[in-house]
Symmetry: C2
Subunit: 785 residues, 2 copies
């Protein structure tokens, strides 16, 4: 928001610029022109970036023409000002203007759209432009963006007012953007685009197709040399990859802006490894430089190399990764259907910041227009979503909701596949495969492993996922959910068990389930041989294994479904409450674990009892476990512990620890109970409202609620360790893969985090960064900070 | 359980008894006979009370006949031993024996039922009798009883072996039981029954109809005088009403046992008040002497004095209170249908300890046989349930499942009404009214009020309940649930509000609800003028106001129901989550409160925001409240606070306190969330199993889980008071009326408890007892204890 003394500040700045330029702002004969630019460190959709040519009016446009001897240039500047001012300050729709408008036409549109004359007073233009930049900080799109990237709302923006230089003064002038390394791959070398006789926004707006910046070498060799030299200096100075905007005015190079470049995760890794090799940064800096959340990108699926398909069209490989989904032509529909669970590809002529919510909900984006630095490309890279941009074989007819792709006509809702790594677009679905981790990735994660103290495990329920987790560096399984093994062809037997009227009946069915469970466990033990595997005994309420009432096959099943129906299943007969009432179920599971452990050399068994509230529950079920293990496999060493996933358990951790070798914080359920929030009933409903309306900052199911749930964890850690110093502590909720939450777990002194296999690399890096941040804070404190 | 040295102990005791009696145990000619009695301080169903005449056999029965010159007496003693031993030690069914049996027949039955000869060795009889008493401590019925009355399982029992005296030695002998005051009313005077020429169990078993003990004055005047003198001495010694068993052997009085008498709440109050007046005990002792849980009895309904009905039969007024319910003839069916929610009257010839579970589930009990000290009468008084005993107009035909009542034939399932205060039995249902509190009640509660520090409020949602609460001594309303006002004729308008597609639509419906709410609040304010009324804004999820999906009247409603359906409504869009998303709802409610407060002089308003998780929720809704109150009624003073009913809120109480004038602990929901237990899904399911199987001791929804939920309360009290010293603290969960929980709240330093109107007297007394216990402990500590 502008300060009270804004007018004085403006006058000060104008006076300085006038003195330096030897021209006067608002001078009708030889006007000083200025640009107004956002000073935000990060470019942000919805934020105004810049307004150029401020200070021109009906009279001074003639003065500029005379003083430069270039009437076309002067009129081009004025036309741009009217259009840019109209769009960004007065909110005139983008499509009301065209680059081919004359000054007169642009002014007529302005008057028609705003009901006012275009402001002739240079200071009024300036003031309104400045205020508009400040206000754009709070535009809804900027807010959405900040929420997505967790940028605080209150840091605000500066506004810069600088003297104009002109890239639109003919063939010896130009404007462009470039990166010091390739923002998509991280490779060294100049990487950018420019346009002759243009002003800044032309390059990114995708209106004219820009040229690779290397071509400047031929057309503007001095400026090009100077650009290369400047880029090297800037990167060395900032010790990071730069994203630079420049203008060449009559062969002279001017820098408009430099900032740390947005980049793909692959580029971030490559740049970090290379800069370390170049001696520019240390390994610790390299580790700290990578956004762990972004690594996720590299773990997205790619097209199966063995898949056969025909490429319908090609575009720019604007953001890596592959995705299949239904074509949708506008952001609102994409949001609606994306939220409904459909896979969606947003297909647009070009995207604008208005489309940001649609991009968030889509699996990928395909545009007909725009380059590697176009809006769609930049945003998609930041989000780690596949993007194919500037696809020439794509034509869109919004009226009939059809697209033409390489000559084929498709309708909204038809499925296509895009490969943002190669720029290929395919009609229909193509099989995807998970990507291999590349060398840079391995290098940085190796450095992270040397630094981190937290161990990282994975949540996996079968041999295949366990093997994948191990490939990603998991140091064990932190949560193996046995209920997933109760579905499929085992379901009829599970149902027989549930429908049995007495214990012998249940035991008979369980007897038949045992070999299935045993073989499941054997596969997991084989994949993880030598590493610990925490197996959680049956957790969900039994009604989850029965069909809906209306599908019951007979009266007996109908009655059983009715008897098992619960008003709040989250808080019902599940977890160890099953094992206490029907010990034969847990007995069978422990027996299967024991037999599997005997069969697989190197199996390291940890048996976990879920949903404990009272120490007595764990005491009984541990006794059962010990008895069955002693019967089946007295030679197998194992540990027995519990989830801490209810507030009461966290508070009574001291008593519970007496019967537990380990605690694993089940922060999904602990969040649901501590906050009294059912995730299913909160997300998309009041919780979404809370996030949008600023009641809370983070989704507590994604980022640990440190003040509430974290406080319960702290109490449990203190009381658990006080009762049993050697108790092993971990977390197996989804928060185990969230970087902020990993840092919190490090601070709590947990022994490990456990997350989905694909998040394991993220957690490894985050755990290392937590150590570095801690050291940094310690150094700051030691220095008297 | 018998100790290892049991045999030595038996020999020691026998030697002492032989020395004193000058006879030998097992002597064939002049045998010493003993009785084996439970030494438990409380008589308990399922526990063996006594076995008499131990030491007789086929030979010594002749010796006894010779030494007493009374063969009939000797044979009577032996017949009793065989039957009693058979029933209680060997588990022979009660109905296999009859008082009319000969010795020979009793012995044949014993052999037929046990497959063994009746033991002839006196020491074997004695040892087995002792072990049987010890083992009966763990009988299922005794366990059920201990759970009901919260008697610890591990205190165990002693066994007494004493020399026999004989009430069955002819017309100058007798046996009886008597109380030092009337156990039903508390009135002073001898109160009891006796039987000439009988042994102990005859009186209570209801086999012969006993005589009032006053009649002993004529037939056994010396013994009677001695009994009166002894009763007075015992009561004075123990400073409490006594329940005495005695035997007269040839005009000599012997005391068998004395213990504090079980009594109705009315009797307890009257006795306490009288004893205080007599100078026997202090007011503080009088307060401590009353079981607050038992007061509930006095608050049970009675027959409406204005109701017209015909009395079908009369019996003894064995336990006060009235009840209507369906006739059921056996305990198991009574349990089944009682648990299913039906009102049940257990109708039996007489009850035995086998019926204890049926008594627990019934509204009342009616027996054809037995007196005021019969099993049914004693147990019903203890439970505070109505009982009419010894109803001569009642006949039962178990085979056809019919009863005859004053000549009318009724079937199982037909409804009757019993009035345990007068002994009347009526066919059909009679209107019941709540009882008035009597003078003794008022006296003791007045003393309690002088002592207690906790204030006691009531939970009430309308004017009638509020007036009742005030009559019971409530010092305000601690919880007025506004959603109860959304039903009835308001429901269609509430549904319109929910179905409205936008805010103006909702406001239009809310506008029409406002006058209803205002008038509800006016009635409550009028009833409570001068006392504070805490009004909780809307709490339940909106789908509670819509019909089930299949009853939706149109597509719009169907869609809305679907959209509002939740998987765990407890943890969904309810409480302040409604107010945050649709502020117009809370705005209307606050407006109605403001207008009502303006209209009623003496209204003291406290506005309570439910289900707060985050300080920000309360901050926003308090701001809304303040704005509306300022608009509507700037002159009205009020406070604004919140429920603490989620674990997160308890932990963040410091932040939340900044926006709250008061906290009210909503321990129902706090228990559900802290323990992860939905009450609906726990009780009757796993929680019942947990209680029966000893996993936990108390139902956490009845008695506060002090270790878990209580710990959260302690944290919230500490943090809330640290942030705001003056914050007012109360509890409005159902625990507010549970004596143990009231004591805990006193210890926590809360300002008030709030409970249902009928529990207010219970809470007043419990709050006073908490003070006395605290003082007692402090004195103990000060004395170096």
């Amino acid at each position: 928001m502008p300060a009270a003394g804004l007018d004085e500040e403006i006058e000060d700045q104008i006076a300085r610029l006038e003195e330096k330029a030897g021209k006067r702002f608002g001078d009708p004969d030889d006007p000083l022109l200025v640009s107004v630019r956002s000073g935000a460190a990060v470019s942000m959709p919805g934020m105004m970036d810049s307004i150029l040519n401020v200070g021109l009016n009906d009279v001074s446009v003639g003065g500029l023409a005379r003083s430069t001897g270039n009437e076309g240039f002067a009129r081009d500047c004025y036309r741009r000002l009217i259009q840019m001012f109209g769009e960004t300050v007065d909110g005139v729709s983008h499509d009301r203007f065209s680059p081919d408008d004359t000054v007169e036409h642009a002014r007529e549109v302005y008057v028609a759209e705003t009901g006012r004359e275009f402001p002739q007073d240079a200071r009024e233009q300036l003031r309104r432009a400045i205020v508009a930049v400040f206000e754009s900080w709070n535009s809804p799109r900027a807010q959405v963006y900040r929420r997505t990237y967790e940028i605080p709302d209150d840091i605000g923006t500066a506004v810069n007012v600088v003297q104009m230089v002109f890239g639109n003064k003919g063939d010896t002038s130009a404007t462009g953007v470039c990166f010091t390394r390739n923002p998509s791959t991280g490779e060294q070398g100049v990487y950018g685009e420019y346009l002759v006789n243009a002003q800044g926004e032309d390059v990114v707006a995708g209106i004219r197709t820009p040229q690779p910046v290397e071509e400047m070498a031929k057309r503007l060799p001095e400026a090009y040399e100077q650009l290369l030299e400047t880029m090297a200096r800037l990167e060395h100075h900032y010790r990071d990859m730069q994203d630079i905007e420049f203008t060449v005015e009559e062969r002279h190079l001017y820098l408009l802006q430099t900032r740390s470049a947005k980049r793909t995760a692959a580029a971030a890794l490559k740049a970090a490894v290379d800069m370390t090799a170049e001696g520019l940064i240390s390994r610790e800096e390299a580790i700290s430089r990578i956004d762990p959340g972004q690594l996720d990108q590299l773990l997205h699926p790619m097209l199966d190399p063995k898949a056969e398909f025909e490429v319908a069209a090609r575009g720019l490989n604007a953001s890596p990764g592959a995705a299949s989904g239904k074509i949708l032509l506008d952001a609102d529909t994409a949001v609606e259907r994306g939220k409904g669970g459909e896979s969606v590809i947003l297909v647009r002529w070009e995207t604008t910041p208005d489309d940001i919510h649609g991009l968030i909900q889509s699996k990928g984006v395909l545009t007909a227009h725009g380059g590697m630095t176009s809006h769609a490309a930049v945003v998609a890279r930041g989000m780690g979503k596949p993007c194919v941009a500037g696809c020439e074989g794509l034509d869109i007819d919004v009226a009939t909701k059809t697209v033409t792709l390489g000559g084929h006509t498709l309708h909204e809702g038809d499925v296509i596949t895009i490969d943002g790594g190669t720029g290929r677009v395919i009609i229909g679905e193509v099989r995807l495969v998970p990507p291999a981790i590349n060398e840079d990735f391995e290098t940085v994660l190796g450095w992270a492993d040397d630094v981190r103290r937290l161990k990282v495990r994975a949540n996996a329920d079968n041999g295949v996922d366990s093997a994948k987790a191990r490939e990603f560096g998991a140091q064990g399984i932190g949560l193996c959910r046995t209920e997933h093994m109760f579905f499929g062809d085992r379901l009829p037997v599970v149902q027989e068990m549930i429908l049995a009227s007495d214990e012998p009946g249940r035991r008979e069915a369980l007897e038949r389930l045992l070999p299935f469970q045993q073989s499941d466990f054997e596969q997991i033990f084989e994949a993880m041989a030598g590493l610990p595997v925490t197996i959680r005994l049956l957790d969900p309420p039994l009604h989850e294994f029965l069909p809906p009432l209306e599908e019951a096959t007979d009266e007996r099943m109908r009655n059983r479904i009715k008897a098992l129906t619960e008003s709040n299943p989250m808080l019902g007969t599940r977890g160890c409450r099953l094992g206490i009432q029907w010990p034969e179920i847990y007995e069978m599971q422990v027996r299967a674990i024991a037999r599997a452990a005997k069969a697989v050399p190197g199996a390291l068994v940890e048996i976990m009892i879920p949903l404990v509230d009272f120490a007595e529950e764990l005491r009984r079920l541990r006794a059962l476990t010990e008895q069955v293990m002693a019967e089946e496999a007295p030679e197998i060493e194992y540990t027995c512990g519990t989830m801490i996933e209810l507030p009461r358990a966290a508070l009574r951790a001291g008593e519970i620890a007496e019967h537990a070798d380990f605690f694993s914080f089940g922060t999904n359920d602990l969040t649901q109970t501590a906050l009294g929030m059912s995730r299913d009933d909160a997300e998309g409903k009041f919780l979404t409202f809370y996030l949008e309306d600023g009641v809370i900052e983070h989704n507590p199911f994604e980022t640990l609620d440190q003040d509430g749930v974290g406080e319960l964890m702290r109490i449990a850690v203190d009381r658990g360790r006080a009762a049993k110093e050697t108790i092993k502590l971990g977390i197996c909720g989804e928060h185990g893969g969230d970087p902020k939450s990993v840092e919190f777990c490090h601070g709590l002194g947990l022994d490990y985090v456990s997350c989905s296999p694909y998040r394991v690399p993220v957690a490894r890096l985050a755990a290392a960064q937590a150590v570095l941040k801690e050291a940094h804070r310690a150094a700051y404190v030691a220095a008297g900070g």
